[in-house]
Protein backbone atom coordinates (compact mmCIF):
# COMPACT_ATOMS: atom_id res chain seq x y z
CA UNK A 1 0.00 0.00 0.00
CA UNK A 2 1.26 3.48 -0.81
CA UNK A 3 2.16 6.18 1.66
CA UNK A 4 -0.37 8.04 3.77
CA UNK A 5 -0.87 11.55 2.37
CA UNK A 6 -3.48 12.97 4.70
CA UNK A 7 -4.12 12.09 8.30
CA UNK A 8 -7.04 13.66 10.12
CA UNK A 9 -6.99 13.09 13.87
CA UNK A 10 -9.87 13.78 16.20
CA UNK A 11 -11.11 16.74 14.17
CA UNK A 12 -13.79 18.82 15.89
CA UNK A 13 -15.48 21.67 14.06
CA UNK A 14 -18.28 23.73 15.53
CA UNK A 15 -20.51 26.57 14.50
CA UNK A 16 -21.14 29.13 17.20
CA UNK A 17 -24.52 30.82 16.81
CA UNK A 18 -26.95 32.61 19.10
CA UNK A 19 -28.79 29.32 19.56
CA UNK A 20 -25.62 27.67 20.82
CA UNK A 21 -22.76 25.50 19.61
CA UNK A 22 -23.48 23.24 16.64
CA UNK A 23 -21.03 20.38 16.70
CA UNK A 24 -20.96 19.83 12.96
CA UNK A 25 -17.94 17.55 13.12
CA UNK A 26 -17.31 15.88 16.45
CA UNK A 27 -14.02 14.07 16.76
CA UNK A 28 -13.47 12.25 13.49
CA UNK A 29 -10.28 10.49 12.40
CA UNK A 30 -9.35 9.07 9.01
CA UNK A 31 -6.46 8.88 6.60
CA UNK A 32 -6.07 9.00 2.84
CA UNK A 33 -3.30 7.27 0.87
CA UNK A 34 -1.48 8.89 -2.02
CA UNK A 35 -3.35 8.36 -5.27
CA UNK A 36 -6.35 6.81 -3.55
CA UNK A 37 -10.02 7.76 -3.70
CA UNK A 38 -11.55 7.90 -0.28
CA UNK A 39 -15.33 8.21 0.02
CA UNK A 40 -17.01 10.26 2.71
CA UNK A 41 -20.64 9.19 2.77
CA UNK A 42 -23.68 10.27 4.71
CA UNK A 43 -26.95 12.13 4.45
CA UNK A 44 -27.31 15.93 4.25
CA UNK A 45 -25.93 17.90 7.20
CA UNK A 46 -23.94 14.98 8.63
CA UNK A 47 -20.73 17.04 8.46
CA UNK A 48 -19.19 15.84 5.17
CA UNK A 49 -18.82 19.26 3.59
CA UNK A 50 -17.69 20.83 6.85
CA UNK A 51 -14.96 18.19 7.02
CA UNK A 52 -13.82 19.20 3.52
CA UNK A 53 -13.84 22.90 4.34
CA UNK A 54 -12.01 22.23 7.62
CA UNK A 55 -9.15 20.58 5.74
CA UNK A 56 -8.85 23.76 3.66
CA UNK A 57 -9.41 25.89 6.76
CA UNK A 58 -12.12 27.79 4.90
CA UNK A 59 -15.05 27.65 7.28
CA UNK A 60 -17.57 30.49 7.05
CA UNK A 61 -16.30 33.10 9.50
CA UNK A 62 -16.86 34.09 12.18
CA UNK A 63 -19.37 31.36 13.13
CA UNK A 64 -17.40 28.29 12.03
CA UNK A 65 -14.28 27.25 13.91
CA UNK A 66 -12.08 24.19 14.22
CA UNK A 67 -12.07 23.53 17.96
CA UNK A 68 -9.72 20.58 18.10
CA UNK A 69 -7.72 17.94 16.32
CA UNK A 70 -4.92 17.69 13.79
CA UNK A 71 -4.91 17.74 10.01
CA UNK A 72 -1.59 16.40 8.79
CA UNK A 73 -0.81 16.65 5.08
CA UNK A 74 2.44 15.05 4.02
CA UNK A 75 3.98 15.58 7.46
CA UNK A 76 2.76 19.15 7.98
CA UNK A 77 0.03 19.92 10.50
CA UNK A 78 -2.17 22.38 8.61
CA UNK A 79 -3.59 23.66 11.87
CA UNK A 80 -0.24 25.17 12.77
CA UNK A 81 0.24 27.11 9.53
CA UNK A 82 -0.16 30.88 9.42
CA UNK A 83 -2.96 32.28 7.27
CA UNK A 84 -0.49 33.14 4.54
CA UNK A 85 1.18 29.72 4.57
CA UNK A 86 -2.24 28.09 4.46
CA UNK A 87 -3.16 30.17 1.41
CA UNK A 88 -0.12 28.85 -0.41
CA UNK A 89 -1.42 25.30 0.19
CA UNK A 90 -4.86 26.05 -1.18
CA UNK A 91 -5.18 25.51 -4.90
CA UNK A 92 -1.64 24.19 -5.06
CA UNK A 93 -1.47 21.23 -2.66
CA UNK A 94 -5.17 20.87 -1.89
CA UNK A 95 -8.04 21.70 -4.22
CA UNK A 96 -11.76 21.40 -4.01
CA UNK A 97 -14.61 20.97 -6.46
CA UNK A 98 -17.94 22.38 -5.33
CA UNK A 99 -21.32 20.81 -5.89
CA UNK A 100 -23.10 23.18 -8.26
CA UNK A 101 -21.31 24.02 -11.50
CA UNK A 102 -23.95 26.63 -12.34
CA UNK A 103 -22.94 28.85 -9.43
CA UNK A 104 -19.32 28.00 -8.68
CA UNK A 105 -17.80 29.86 -11.64
CA UNK A 106 -17.61 33.63 -11.61
CA UNK A 107 -20.11 34.84 -14.26
CA UNK A 108 -18.18 37.96 -15.27
CA UNK A 109 -14.77 36.46 -16.11
CA UNK A 110 -13.77 34.18 -18.93
CA UNK A 111 -12.92 30.56 -18.31
CA UNK A 112 -9.30 31.22 -19.31
CA UNK A 113 -9.03 34.07 -16.83
CA UNK A 114 -10.40 31.95 -13.98
CA UNK A 115 -8.04 29.04 -14.61
CA UNK A 116 -5.08 31.28 -15.45
CA UNK A 117 -5.43 33.08 -12.17
CA UNK A 118 -4.56 29.91 -10.23
CA UNK A 119 -1.70 29.08 -12.54
CA UNK A 120 -0.21 32.57 -12.29
CA UNK A 121 -0.59 32.64 -8.52
CA UNK A 122 0.97 29.28 -7.68
CA UNK A 123 3.43 28.74 -10.50
CA UNK A 124 4.59 32.31 -11.08
CA UNK A 125 4.53 31.95 -14.86
CA UNK A 126 4.77 34.63 -17.53
CA UNK A 127 1.59 35.46 -19.45
CA UNK A 128 2.41 33.50 -22.62
CA UNK A 129 3.22 30.39 -20.56
CA UNK A 130 0.04 30.82 -18.52
CA UNK A 131 -2.10 30.30 -21.59
CA UNK A 132 -0.30 27.04 -22.39
CA UNK A 133 -0.93 25.80 -18.86
CA UNK A 134 -4.59 26.80 -19.03
CA UNK A 135 -5.02 24.90 -22.29
CA UNK A 136 -3.31 21.86 -20.83
CA UNK A 137 -5.59 22.01 -17.77
CA UNK A 138 -8.65 22.11 -20.05
CA UNK A 139 -7.23 19.28 -22.09
CA UNK A 140 -6.70 17.19 -18.94
CA UNK A 141 -10.46 17.42 -18.32
CA UNK A 142 -11.07 16.59 -22.01
CA UNK A 143 -12.74 19.83 -22.92
CA UNK A 144 -13.00 19.97 -26.70
CA UNK A 145 -11.24 22.80 -28.57
CA UNK A 146 -9.63 24.32 -25.46
CA UNK A 147 -7.96 27.11 -27.51
CA UNK A 148 -11.43 28.41 -28.39
CA UNK A 149 -13.04 27.85 -25.01
CA UNK A 150 -10.60 29.90 -22.97
CA UNK A 151 -12.27 33.06 -24.27
CA UNK A 152 -15.77 31.80 -23.38
CA UNK A 153 -17.77 32.91 -20.40
CA UNK A 154 -19.37 30.34 -18.08
CA UNK A 155 -22.89 31.18 -19.27
CA UNK A 156 -21.94 30.06 -22.76
CA UNK A 157 -21.36 26.50 -21.49
CA UNK A 158 -23.55 23.60 -20.41
CA UNK A 159 -23.61 22.36 -16.81
CA UNK A 160 -21.43 19.35 -17.60
CA UNK A 161 -18.86 21.52 -19.39
CA UNK A 162 -18.82 24.01 -16.53
CA UNK A 163 -18.14 21.23 -14.04
CA UNK A 164 -15.20 20.19 -16.21
CA UNK A 165 -13.94 23.77 -16.06
CA UNK A 166 -14.25 23.66 -12.27
CA UNK A 167 -12.26 20.42 -12.44
CA UNK A 168 -9.64 22.18 -14.62
CA UNK A 169 -9.29 24.94 -12.05
CA UNK A 170 -8.86 22.36 -9.29
CA UNK A 171 -6.32 20.32 -11.25
CA UNK A 172 -4.48 23.25 -12.89
CA UNK A 173 -1.61 23.22 -10.38
CA UNK A 174 -1.57 19.41 -10.08
CA UNK A 175 -2.56 19.22 -6.39
CA UNK A 176 -1.74 16.22 -4.22
CA UNK A 177 -5.20 16.14 -2.67
CA UNK A 178 -8.55 16.91 -4.27
CA UNK A 179 -11.70 17.28 -2.23
CA UNK A 180 -14.69 16.63 -4.46
CA UNK A 181 -17.86 17.77 -2.70
CA UNK A 182 -20.74 16.01 -4.45
CA UNK A 183 -19.35 17.05 -7.83
CA UNK A 184 -21.83 14.94 -9.76
CA UNK A 185 -25.01 15.54 -7.79
CA UNK A 186 -26.11 18.47 -9.94
CA UNK A 187 -25.39 16.64 -13.20
CA UNK A 188 -27.74 14.28 -15.00
CA UNK A 189 -27.07 10.54 -14.91
CA UNK A 190 -25.17 10.08 -18.19
CA UNK A 191 -22.96 13.15 -17.61
CA UNK A 192 -22.40 11.88 -14.06
CA UNK A 193 -20.99 8.58 -15.28
CA UNK A 194 -18.75 10.38 -17.79
CA UNK A 195 -17.43 12.73 -15.13
CA UNK A 196 -16.57 9.89 -12.78
CA UNK A 197 -14.83 7.94 -15.55
CA UNK A 198 -12.89 11.10 -16.37
CA UNK A 199 -11.69 11.43 -12.79
CA UNK A 200 -10.57 7.82 -12.62
CA UNK A 201 -8.50 8.57 -15.68
CA UNK A 202 -7.08 11.82 -14.30
CA UNK A 203 -6.13 10.01 -11.14
CA UNK A 204 -4.14 7.48 -13.16
CA UNK A 205 -2.34 10.31 -14.95
CA UNK A 206 -1.61 12.56 -11.98
CA UNK A 207 -1.70 10.25 -8.94
CA UNK A 208 -3.87 12.77 -7.06
CA UNK A 209 -5.61 11.57 -3.90
CA UNK A 210 -9.33 12.28 -3.87
CA UNK A 211 -11.73 12.67 -0.98
CA UNK A 212 -15.05 12.02 -2.64
CA UNK A 213 -17.92 13.46 -0.64
CA UNK A 214 -21.28 11.98 -1.60
CA UNK A 215 -24.56 10.61 -0.31
CA UNK A 216 -24.76 8.09 -3.11
CA UNK A 217 -23.44 4.58 -2.44
CA UNK A 218 -23.76 3.83 -6.15
CA UNK A 219 -21.11 6.46 -6.87
CA UNK A 220 -18.96 5.12 -4.02
CA UNK A 221 -18.97 1.63 -5.53
CA UNK A 222 -17.84 3.11 -8.81
CA UNK A 223 -14.88 5.23 -7.74
CA UNK A 224 -13.79 4.78 -4.11
CA UNK A 225 -11.24 2.30 -2.79
CA UNK A 226 -12.08 2.99 0.83
CA UNK A 227 -15.01 4.69 2.45
CA UNK A 228 -16.04 6.30 5.75
CA UNK A 229 -19.70 6.58 6.69
CA UNK A 230 -20.65 9.68 8.65
CA UNK A 231 -23.67 10.22 10.83
CA UNK A 232 -24.44 13.39 12.81
CA UNK A 233 -20.85 14.61 12.95
CA UNK A 234 -19.21 11.23 13.67
CA UNK A 235 -17.69 8.51 11.55
CA UNK A 236 -19.60 5.30 12.32
CA UNK A 237 -17.75 2.91 10.03
CA UNK A 238 -14.61 2.91 7.87
CA UNK A 239 -13.62 0.11 5.51
CA UNK A 240 -12.53 -0.86 2.03
CA UNK A 241 -15.41 -0.37 -0.40
CA UNK A 242 -15.70 -4.08 -1.17
CA UNK A 243 -15.90 -4.92 2.55
CA UNK A 244 -18.55 -2.28 3.19
CA UNK A 245 -20.79 -3.72 0.49
CA UNK A 246 -20.21 -7.36 1.42
CA UNK A 247 -20.25 -7.12 5.19
CA UNK A 248 -21.46 -3.79 6.58
CA UNK A 249 -21.29 -3.89 10.36
CA UNK A 250 -23.01 -0.66 11.43
CA UNK A 251 -26.81 -0.70 11.16
CA UNK A 252 -26.69 2.79 9.59
CA UNK A 253 -24.29 1.61 6.87
CA UNK A 254 -26.55 -1.36 6.11
CA UNK A 255 -29.56 0.91 5.94
CA UNK A 256 -27.78 3.35 3.59
CA UNK A 257 -26.69 0.56 1.26
CA UNK A 258 -30.16 -0.91 1.40
CA UNK A 259 -31.68 2.42 0.32
CA UNK A 260 -29.79 2.54 -2.98
CA UNK A 261 -32.35 1.79 -5.70
CA UNK A 262 -31.44 -1.32 -7.66
CA UNK A 263 -32.56 -2.61 -11.01
CA UNK A 264 -32.00 -6.27 -10.13
CA UNK A 265 -34.46 -6.28 -7.22
CA UNK A 266 -38.18 -5.87 -7.48
CA UNK A 267 -39.10 -3.58 -4.65
CA UNK A 268 -42.48 -1.97 -4.50
CA UNK A 269 -41.15 1.10 -2.82
CA UNK A 270 -37.79 2.60 -2.02
CA UNK A 271 -36.37 1.69 1.35
CA UNK A 272 -36.00 4.59 3.73
CA UNK A 273 -34.70 4.95 7.27
CA UNK A 274 -37.37 5.92 9.79
CA UNK A 275 -37.07 9.20 11.64
CA UNK A 276 -34.73 12.18 11.37
CA UNK A 277 -31.08 12.72 12.32
CA UNK A 278 -30.68 14.33 15.76
CA UNK A 279 -30.32 18.09 16.14
CA UNK A 280 -26.66 19.03 16.42
CA UNK A 281 -27.62 21.41 19.22
CA UNK A 282 -29.14 18.68 21.35
CA UNK A 283 -27.29 15.42 20.79
CA UNK A 284 -28.29 12.21 22.58
CA UNK A 285 -25.81 11.05 25.26
CA UNK A 286 -25.39 7.61 23.73
CA UNK A 287 -25.05 6.50 20.12
CA UNK A 288 -26.36 9.18 17.78
CA UNK A 289 -28.11 6.66 15.58
CA UNK A 290 -29.84 4.91 18.51
CA UNK A 291 -33.23 6.66 18.11
CA UNK A 292 -33.50 5.35 14.52
CA UNK A 293 -31.62 2.08 14.91
CA UNK A 294 -33.49 -1.22 14.26
CA UNK A 295 -31.06 -3.19 16.49
CA UNK A 296 -31.00 -0.77 19.40
CA UNK A 297 -30.01 -2.06 22.88
CA UNK A 298 -30.30 -0.39 26.24
CA UNK A 299 -26.65 0.68 26.41
CA UNK A 300 -26.93 2.47 23.05
CA UNK A 301 -29.03 5.22 24.63
CA UNK A 302 -26.65 5.73 27.55
CA UNK A 303 -23.10 5.54 26.31
CA UNK A 304 -21.31 6.32 23.10
CA UNK A 305 -19.88 3.20 21.46
CA UNK A 306 -16.08 3.13 21.07
CA UNK A 307 -14.45 2.78 17.66
CA UNK A 308 -13.32 -0.82 17.31
CA UNK A 309 -11.04 -2.13 14.57
CA UNK A 310 -12.55 -5.49 13.77
CA UNK A 311 -10.20 -6.39 10.96
CA UNK A 312 -7.38 -4.67 9.12
CA UNK A 313 -8.67 -1.30 7.95
CA UNK A 314 -12.25 -1.99 9.02
CA UNK A 315 -13.38 -0.08 12.06
CA UNK A 316 -16.88 0.33 13.46
CA UNK A 317 -18.46 2.32 16.23
CA UNK A 318 -21.37 0.20 17.44
CA UNK A 319 -22.26 -1.69 20.63
CA UNK A 320 -23.36 -4.65 18.55
CA UNK A 321 -19.76 -5.19 17.44
CA UNK A 322 -17.21 -6.36 19.98
Amino acid sequence: MSKILLQVEDLCTSFFTRAGEFKAVDGISFYVHEGETFGLVGESACGKTVTGLSILRLLPEPAGRIVGGKIILDGTNLMELSKKEMRAYRGKMISMILQDPMTSLNPVYTVGNQIGESVRLHQGLRDDKVEDEVISALRLLRIPAPEMRIRDYPFQMSGGMRQRVVGSIAMSCRPRLLIADEPTTALDATIQAQYIALFKDIQKQTDVAIIFITHDFGVVANICQRVAVMYAGKIVETAATSTIFKAPKHPYTSALIHSVPRLDRKDDRLYSIEGQPPSLLDLPPGCRFAPRCPDVQEICHKQQPPIVEISDGHSVSCWKVK
Binding site: A88, G91, M96, T103, V108, S118
Partner: protein
Protein backbone atom coordinates in the same frame (compact mmCIF):
# COMPACT_ATOMS: atom_id res chain seq x y z
CA UNK B 1 -24.52 46.67 -29.34
CA UNK B 2 -24.83 49.30 -32.12
CA UNK B 3 -28.39 48.18 -32.80
CA UNK B 4 -29.16 48.47 -29.10
CA UNK B 5 -27.77 52.00 -28.97
CA UNK B 6 -29.74 53.08 -32.05
CA UNK B 7 -32.97 51.71 -30.58
CA UNK B 8 -32.32 53.50 -27.31
CA UNK B 9 -31.56 56.77 -29.11
CA UNK B 10 -34.85 56.56 -31.03
CA UNK B 11 -36.69 55.88 -27.77
CA UNK B 12 -34.97 58.90 -26.26
CA UNK B 13 -36.09 61.17 -29.12
CA UNK B 14 -39.71 60.06 -28.61
CA UNK B 15 -39.40 60.67 -24.86
CA UNK B 16 -37.98 64.16 -25.42
CA UNK B 17 -40.77 65.12 -27.81
CA UNK B 18 -43.29 63.93 -25.21
CA UNK B 19 -41.58 65.96 -22.48
CA UNK B 20 -41.43 69.04 -24.73
CA UNK B 21 -45.18 68.83 -25.35
CA UNK B 22 -45.98 68.30 -21.67
CA UNK B 23 -43.80 71.12 -20.39
CA UNK B 24 -45.34 73.51 -22.94
CA UNK B 25 -48.81 73.03 -21.50
CA UNK B 26 -47.76 72.70 -17.87
CA UNK B 27 -45.93 76.04 -17.74
CA UNK B 28 -48.95 77.74 -19.27
CA UNK B 29 -51.13 76.25 -16.54
CA UNK B 30 -49.01 78.13 -13.98
CA UNK B 31 -50.47 81.51 -14.96
CA UNK B 32 -50.04 84.41 -17.32
CA UNK B 33 -46.55 85.97 -17.39
CA UNK B 34 -48.02 89.24 -18.71
CA UNK B 35 -49.54 89.90 -15.29
CA UNK B 36 -46.04 89.99 -13.85
CA UNK B 37 -44.47 91.87 -16.73
CA UNK B 38 -47.20 94.51 -16.87
CA UNK B 39 -46.00 97.90 -15.70
CA UNK B 40 -48.71 100.25 -14.32
CA UNK B 41 -47.12 103.13 -16.24
CA UNK B 42 -47.45 101.35 -19.57
CA UNK B 43 -49.87 102.67 -22.12
CA UNK B 44 -52.32 100.36 -23.80
CA UNK B 45 -50.23 100.63 -26.99
CA UNK B 46 -46.96 99.74 -25.22
CA UNK B 47 -48.64 96.77 -23.56
CA UNK B 48 -49.95 95.49 -26.89
CA UNK B 49 -46.51 95.99 -28.47
CA UNK B 50 -44.88 93.96 -25.67
CA UNK B 51 -47.42 91.17 -26.18
CA UNK B 52 -46.59 91.01 -29.89
CA UNK B 53 -42.85 91.18 -29.24
CA UNK B 54 -43.01 88.23 -26.80
CA UNK B 55 -45.25 86.30 -29.16
CA UNK B 56 -47.94 86.02 -26.48
CA UNK B 57 -50.61 87.64 -28.68
CA UNK B 58 -50.95 84.40 -30.61
CA UNK B 59 -53.24 81.53 -29.58
CA UNK B 60 -51.79 78.52 -27.70
CA UNK B 61 -52.08 76.48 -30.88
CA UNK B 62 -50.02 78.96 -32.86
CA UNK B 63 -47.51 79.35 -30.03
CA UNK B 64 -47.14 75.58 -29.91
CA UNK B 65 -46.37 75.33 -33.61
CA UNK B 66 -43.74 78.10 -33.39
CA UNK B 67 -42.22 76.46 -30.26
CA UNK B 68 -41.97 73.00 -31.76
CA UNK B 69 -40.63 74.42 -35.03
CA UNK B 70 -37.91 76.38 -33.24
CA UNK B 71 -37.07 73.37 -31.10
CA UNK B 72 -36.64 71.19 -34.16
CA UNK B 73 -34.04 73.69 -35.37
CA UNK B 74 -32.29 73.72 -32.00
CA UNK B 75 -33.56 77.17 -31.07
CA UNK B 76 -34.51 77.32 -27.40
CA UNK B 77 -36.05 80.78 -27.67
CA UNK B 78 -35.61 84.06 -25.80
CA UNK B 79 -36.24 84.68 -22.11
CA UNK B 80 -39.49 86.59 -21.62
CA UNK B 81 -38.11 88.34 -18.59
CA UNK B 82 -34.47 89.01 -19.47
CA UNK B 83 -34.86 89.43 -23.25
CA UNK B 84 -31.78 87.30 -23.86
CA UNK B 85 -31.42 84.07 -25.83
CA UNK B 86 -32.02 81.21 -23.36
CA UNK B 87 -29.07 79.34 -24.82
CA UNK B 88 -26.71 82.12 -23.67
CA UNK B 89 -28.13 82.02 -20.16
CA UNK B 90 -27.66 78.23 -20.06
CA UNK B 91 -24.10 78.55 -21.29
CA UNK B 92 -23.39 80.67 -18.22
CA UNK B 93 -25.24 78.58 -15.65
CA UNK B 94 -24.62 74.99 -16.83
CA UNK B 95 -20.87 75.01 -16.03
CA UNK B 96 -21.69 76.19 -12.51
CA UNK B 97 -24.12 73.33 -12.04
CA UNK B 98 -21.56 70.86 -13.36
CA UNK B 99 -18.93 72.25 -11.00
CA UNK B 100 -21.30 71.26 -8.22
CA UNK B 101 -22.79 67.99 -9.45
CA UNK B 102 -19.72 66.32 -10.94
CA UNK B 103 -17.51 66.48 -7.81
CA UNK B 104 -20.53 65.58 -5.68
CA UNK B 105 -21.27 62.58 -7.88
CA UNK B 106 -17.64 61.44 -7.94
CA UNK B 107 -17.21 61.84 -4.18
CA UNK B 108 -20.60 60.26 -3.44
CA UNK B 109 -19.99 57.20 -5.59
CA UNK B 110 -16.42 56.67 -4.38
CA UNK B 111 -17.50 56.89 -0.76
CA UNK B 112 -20.52 54.65 -1.39
CA UNK B 113 -18.28 52.02 -2.92
CA UNK B 114 -15.58 52.20 -0.27
CA UNK B 115 -17.94 52.32 2.71
CA UNK B 116 -20.33 49.74 1.25
CA UNK B 117 -17.49 47.26 0.73
CA UNK B 118 -16.03 48.08 4.14
CA UNK B 119 -19.35 47.40 5.84
CA UNK B 120 -20.01 44.19 3.93
CA UNK B 121 -16.57 42.70 4.51
CA UNK B 122 -16.66 43.58 8.20
CA UNK B 123 -20.23 42.50 8.74
CA UNK B 124 -21.72 43.10 12.19
CA UNK B 125 -18.64 44.91 13.45
CA UNK B 126 -18.31 48.50 14.60
CA UNK B 127 -17.62 49.61 11.00
CA UNK B 128 -20.72 47.95 9.65
CA UNK B 129 -22.94 49.39 12.38
CA UNK B 130 -21.45 52.83 11.72
CA UNK B 131 -22.16 52.66 8.00
CA UNK B 132 -25.69 51.38 8.59
CA UNK B 133 -26.35 54.17 11.08
CA UNK B 134 -25.05 56.80 8.65
CA UNK B 135 -27.16 55.39 5.83
CA UNK B 136 -30.36 55.42 7.87
CA UNK B 137 -29.66 58.92 9.14
CA UNK B 138 -28.90 60.09 5.61
CA UNK B 139 -32.09 58.67 4.21
CA UNK B 140 -34.31 59.81 7.06
CA UNK B 141 -33.22 63.46 7.29
CA UNK B 142 -34.39 65.82 4.54
CA UNK B 143 -31.42 67.16 2.57
CA UNK B 144 -32.52 70.79 2.59
CA UNK B 145 -32.80 70.76 6.38
CA UNK B 146 -29.34 69.26 6.78
CA UNK B 147 -27.95 71.91 4.41
CA UNK B 148 -29.49 74.73 6.41
CA UNK B 149 -28.24 73.22 9.68
CA UNK B 150 -24.77 72.89 8.16
CA UNK B 151 -24.83 76.57 7.19
CA UNK B 152 -25.92 77.43 10.71
CA UNK B 153 -23.14 75.42 12.33
CA UNK B 154 -20.19 75.90 9.97
CA UNK B 155 -20.91 79.36 8.57
CA UNK B 156 -22.82 81.15 11.30
CA UNK B 157 -21.63 79.74 14.66
CA UNK B 158 -18.10 78.63 13.87
CA UNK B 159 -17.62 80.87 10.84
CA UNK B 160 -15.11 78.51 9.27
CA UNK B 161 -16.92 78.24 5.94
CA UNK B 162 -18.68 80.86 3.78
CA UNK B 163 -22.48 81.01 3.77
CA UNK B 164 -23.07 81.24 0.03
CA UNK B 165 -21.54 82.06 -3.34
CA UNK B 166 -18.80 80.30 -5.28
CA UNK B 167 -15.70 82.48 -5.09
CA UNK B 168 -13.13 80.19 -3.42
CA UNK B 169 -12.64 76.43 -2.95
CA UNK B 170 -14.01 76.83 0.59
CA UNK B 171 -17.30 77.92 -0.96
CA UNK B 172 -17.64 74.47 -2.51
CA UNK B 173 -17.49 72.52 0.73
CA UNK B 174 -21.03 72.95 2.00
CA UNK B 175 -22.92 72.79 -1.33
CA UNK B 176 -20.94 69.78 -2.57
CA UNK B 177 -21.39 68.18 0.86
CA UNK B 178 -25.13 68.70 0.59
CA UNK B 179 -25.23 67.13 -2.86
CA UNK B 180 -23.24 64.14 -1.60
CA UNK B 181 -25.82 63.83 1.13
CA UNK B 182 -28.50 63.39 -1.54
CA UNK B 183 -26.79 60.50 -3.31
CA UNK B 184 -24.52 58.70 -0.85
CA UNK B 185 -26.74 56.89 1.69
CA UNK B 186 -28.95 54.99 -0.76
CA UNK B 187 -26.03 53.92 -2.91
CA UNK B 188 -23.95 52.91 0.11
CA UNK B 189 -26.70 50.64 1.42
CA UNK B 190 -27.15 49.12 -1.99
CA UNK B 191 -23.43 48.38 -2.40
CA UNK B 192 -23.36 46.85 1.07
CA UNK B 193 -26.33 44.51 0.56
CA UNK B 194 -25.28 43.57 -2.95
CA UNK B 195 -21.76 42.85 -1.74
CA UNK B 196 -23.09 40.72 1.13
CA UNK B 197 -25.07 38.60 -1.34
CA UNK B 198 -22.05 38.10 -3.56
CA UNK B 199 -19.73 37.24 -0.65
CA UNK B 200 -22.02 34.31 0.15
CA UNK B 201 -21.79 32.98 -3.39
CA UNK B 202 -20.11 29.77 -4.46
CA UNK B 203 -17.70 31.50 -6.84
CA UNK B 204 -16.33 33.60 -4.00
CA UNK B 205 -15.86 30.36 -2.07
CA UNK B 206 -14.08 28.90 -5.09
CA UNK B 207 -11.84 31.97 -5.36
CA UNK B 208 -10.74 31.36 -1.77
CA UNK B 209 -10.24 27.66 -2.46
CA UNK B 210 -7.82 28.65 -5.22
CA UNK B 211 -5.69 30.31 -2.55
CA UNK B 212 -6.22 33.86 -3.77
CA UNK B 213 -5.43 36.62 -1.27
CA UNK B 214 -8.49 38.21 0.28
CA UNK B 215 -8.00 41.51 -1.54
CA UNK B 216 -8.20 39.75 -4.94
CA UNK B 217 -11.25 37.81 -3.76
CA UNK B 218 -13.04 41.03 -2.81
CA UNK B 219 -11.89 43.55 -5.41
CA UNK B 220 -11.73 41.23 -8.39
CA UNK B 221 -14.24 38.45 -7.85
CA UNK B 222 -16.83 39.95 -5.56
CA UNK B 223 -16.96 43.64 -6.42
CA UNK B 224 -17.54 43.38 -10.15
CA UNK B 225 -20.56 41.15 -9.54
CA UNK B 226 -21.73 43.28 -6.65
CA UNK B 227 -21.71 46.37 -8.90
CA UNK B 228 -24.41 45.12 -11.24
CA UNK B 229 -27.34 45.96 -8.97
CA UNK B 230 -26.10 49.43 -7.92
CA UNK B 231 -25.37 50.24 -11.57
CA UNK B 232 -28.96 49.64 -12.61
CA UNK B 233 -30.13 52.08 -9.97
CA UNK B 234 -27.54 54.66 -11.00
CA UNK B 235 -30.03 55.75 -13.66
CA UNK B 236 -32.52 56.42 -10.89
CA UNK B 237 -30.00 58.44 -8.89
CA UNK B 238 -29.41 60.95 -11.68
CA UNK B 239 -32.87 62.59 -11.36
CA UNK B 240 -32.16 62.76 -7.61
CA UNK B 241 -28.99 64.65 -8.44
CA UNK B 242 -30.99 67.13 -10.56
CA UNK B 243 -33.44 67.65 -7.72
CA UNK B 244 -30.53 68.00 -5.31
CA UNK B 245 -29.01 70.68 -7.56
CA UNK B 246 -32.26 72.69 -7.55
CA UNK B 247 -32.44 72.64 -3.75
CA UNK B 248 -28.73 73.12 -3.11
CA UNK B 249 -28.30 75.98 -5.56
CA UNK B 250 -31.30 77.76 -4.07
CA UNK B 251 -29.99 77.42 -0.52
CA UNK B 252 -26.42 78.45 -1.34
CA UNK B 253 -27.33 81.10 -3.92
CA UNK B 254 -25.31 79.19 -6.51
CA UNK B 255 -25.66 80.68 -10.01
CA UNK B 256 -26.47 77.39 -11.74
CA UNK B 257 -29.32 75.89 -13.73
CA UNK B 258 -31.16 74.72 -10.65
CA UNK B 259 -31.53 78.22 -9.27
CA UNK B 260 -32.28 79.52 -12.75
CA UNK B 261 -35.27 77.21 -13.19
CA UNK B 262 -36.65 78.11 -9.77
CA UNK B 263 -36.45 81.83 -10.53
CA UNK B 264 -37.90 81.32 -14.01
CA UNK B 265 -40.81 79.31 -12.61
CA UNK B 266 -41.73 82.05 -10.15
CA UNK B 267 -41.45 84.67 -12.89
CA UNK B 268 -43.51 82.51 -15.30
CA UNK B 269 -40.63 82.80 -17.76
CA UNK B 270 -42.01 80.08 -20.06
CA UNK B 271 -39.12 79.79 -22.48
CA UNK B 272 -36.48 79.35 -19.74
CA UNK B 273 -38.50 76.71 -17.89
CA UNK B 274 -39.15 74.84 -21.12
CA UNK B 275 -35.52 74.98 -22.21
CA UNK B 276 -34.08 73.80 -18.90
CA UNK B 277 -36.65 71.03 -18.54
CA UNK B 278 -35.89 69.72 -22.02
CA UNK B 279 -32.14 70.03 -21.51
CA UNK B 280 -32.35 68.18 -18.18
CA UNK B 281 -34.38 65.45 -19.85
CA UNK B 282 -31.75 65.12 -22.57
CA UNK B 283 -29.00 64.84 -19.97
CA UNK B 284 -30.85 62.29 -17.84
CA UNK B 285 -31.65 60.15 -20.87
CA UNK B 286 -28.07 60.43 -22.11
CA UNK B 287 -26.64 59.35 -18.76
CA UNK B 288 -29.10 56.48 -18.58
CA UNK B 289 -27.90 55.30 -21.95
CA UNK B 290 -24.31 55.47 -20.71
CA UNK B 291 -25.34 53.49 -17.62
CA UNK B 292 -26.89 50.80 -19.81
CA UNK B 293 -23.75 50.61 -21.90
CA UNK B 294 -21.53 50.33 -18.82
CA UNK B 295 -23.87 47.67 -17.47
CA UNK B 296 -23.15 45.62 -20.56
CA UNK B 297 -19.47 46.22 -19.97
CA UNK B 298 -19.61 44.88 -16.40
CA UNK B 299 -21.86 41.91 -17.15
CA UNK B 300 -20.71 39.93 -20.21
CA UNK B 301 -24.01 38.05 -20.37
CA UNK B 302 -25.81 41.27 -21.27
CA UNK B 303 -23.12 42.16 -23.79
CA UNK B 304 -23.69 38.89 -25.58
CA UNK B 305 -27.47 39.03 -25.50
CA UNK B 306 -27.52 42.44 -27.09
CA UNK B 307 -25.06 41.83 -29.88
Amino acid sequence: MTRFIIIRLLQAVVAIIGIAVMVFFLVRAAGDPLELLKNPNMTEGQYEAMKVRLGLDKSYGEQFIVYMGDLAQGDLGTSLLKQRPVIDMIKESLPNTLKLTLPAFAIGMTLALALGVLAATRRDTFWDQGVKFMAILGQALPGFWVAIMAVLVFAVYWQILPVAGMATPAHYVLPVGTMVFFTLPGMMRLVRSSMLDVLESEYVKLARIKGLPEKTVIWKHALRNALITPLTTLGLIIPGLVLGAVITETIFNWPGMGRMIVEATFARDFTVVQAITILTAVMVLGINLLVDISYAYVDPQIRYEKS
